[in-house]
Every structure is written in C-alpha cells, then in structure tokens.
Symmetry: C2
Subunit: 141 residues, 2 copies
C-alpha cells in the first residue's frame, strides 16, 4: 500500500493525483515548487518502476513542467529526482525565475522554507485549475 513519506507530508501541501503520481506543493513561497510522487510502495530509484510506470512518470513530469512554465512564467524549469534525504521516489518540478531567491543555483538547501499564507495557496490552486484539466483529480479542501 502506498503511504506518503512523513517528511514529504510535513513539508508539502496536497494538490491531487495524476494517474500515477500524487502532486504536492512544497510549502515554500520562495518558488513555485512541485513534487510528483508515484503512488507505489517501496520504490526509491526510477528503474525500480516497471517500464509502463516509468513512461507514465516521465509523461506526467514533462506535461506538468510544460504547463507550469507558462502558468508561472518560468525562465527555466528544473526537474530532478535526488532522494538522498527522503528515499521514497519523488520528482521535483520547480519553476525558476532569474529574480528568484536562489538563481542560478539549485533550490535545495539555499533558504529556509517560507510557508505560504492560505490566500497564496488558494491563488496557486486557482491557476492550476485552469491548466490541469486532463488526467488530474484535485484533492478536496
């Protein structure tokens, strides 16, 4: 059974589900920073997914990155799976702008997270509802 890693649960807000992956929002207002987690048990590396799941993960990742780039006016999308701290397989999809807090460095470990206000989260969800119109189920609340 799939259970979200406790650290991911603590650091993120739930947005909803693609066919394979749970979509989370990192609770850090520095960057629009999203995380995809395949709803599979005990998977840590990409190649531990079966071939079909690998394709689904890449499809969801690439599609999400494309939508986010437009929606949040990114200068560059950063896509990465590291997992040195949280071993549960998860894919970072981060909107980067030339004027963001860490540019051009990667986002990890640069700044302490700055939690969103409820209003900021509502604004992000509203934007996403305009573009995640296919194969995505928004979580309630």
């Amino acid at each position: 059974m799939f259970t979200l890693d406790a650290r991911l649960q603590q650091d993120t807000l739930l947005l909803g589900d693609f066919p394979l992956c749970r979509l989370l929002l990192m609770n850090d207002a520095h960057y629009p920073w999203f995380i995809l987690v395949p709803r599979r048990e005990a998977v840590s590396e990409l190649f531990q997914l079966d071939a079909e799941e690998q394709q689904a993960l890449w499809r969801e990742t690439t599609w999400l990155a494309e939508k986010l780039k437009d929606t949040f006016a990114a200068d560059k999308m950063n896509v990465a799976t590291l997992g040195n701290v949280v071993s549960q397989l998860h894919m970072h999809v981060v909107v980067r702008r030339r004027d963001d807090a860490a540019w051009p460095a990667p986002v990890w470990g640069k700044h302490a997270a700055q939690p969103y206000s409820e209003r900021q989260v509502a604004a992000i969800k509203e934007k996403l509802q305009l573009v995640l119109t296919e194969n995505f189920c928004f979580a309630e609340g």
Copy 2:
C-alpha cells in the same frame, strides 16, 4: 546542426553516443558524474523535444542510471535537468555515495571540480565498456 555548448565542452570529457544523446563525463573526481545531451539543436526544456525524443531521453537516462548504480556501487542515483547556467538541454546522472564529498546535499556548487588523472579516466572507461554494451558507441581515444 548540433553543437555542444562551450561550457559543457570545457567541463567534461567525451565518452560516446547513445541513439539520441551524447554521453559526457564531468571532469570532477569527487563523484562519478555523467551528463546526457540530446544531439538536437536549440532545445532547452524537456517538452521542446518531440514525443519520440522525450521517450528516448528518458529511456537512455533511466537505463544509464541503472547501469551506473551497479557499476559504481551507488547508494543513490541523482537525476536532474536544471539548465539555469547552461541553457542547452542536458541531463545530469550522478552516482552518489553516503561517504562522498557533498552527501546528502546535491552536488552542484558544493566543491570546485577536481580534474581526473588520465589513469582514472581510463579506469572509468574500462568499467563502462563492460556495461554499455547496447545502443552505445564509444568515442575514439
């Protein structure tokens, strides 16, 4: 026409070619750090590749990560496309070990690169020749 970005050229050693991607070795003995570059012109984001090329990139990435994990006894593989500095689309595939110089932080910007000796490079190439036996063409020299 595909031309490798000048910064990538300067920082890496050429290993060879997969069907889509050029495989480079980052000239930094801190970590076995590889880079895949799709041999396509003027592509910066994943979703600028066509659907078939996207699949090929992911296939080559995932396959390479799996081979490297065994070959270099990784504790975790890090896979990322950032491109904040070098805009030419390139995928980092980095072998991470719990005792490496940056663990558990990501590798970017942690330490100045420590160039390989010729002997070290030869040893890496020898290892790769045992596992990159399909769909890969080693560069001469």
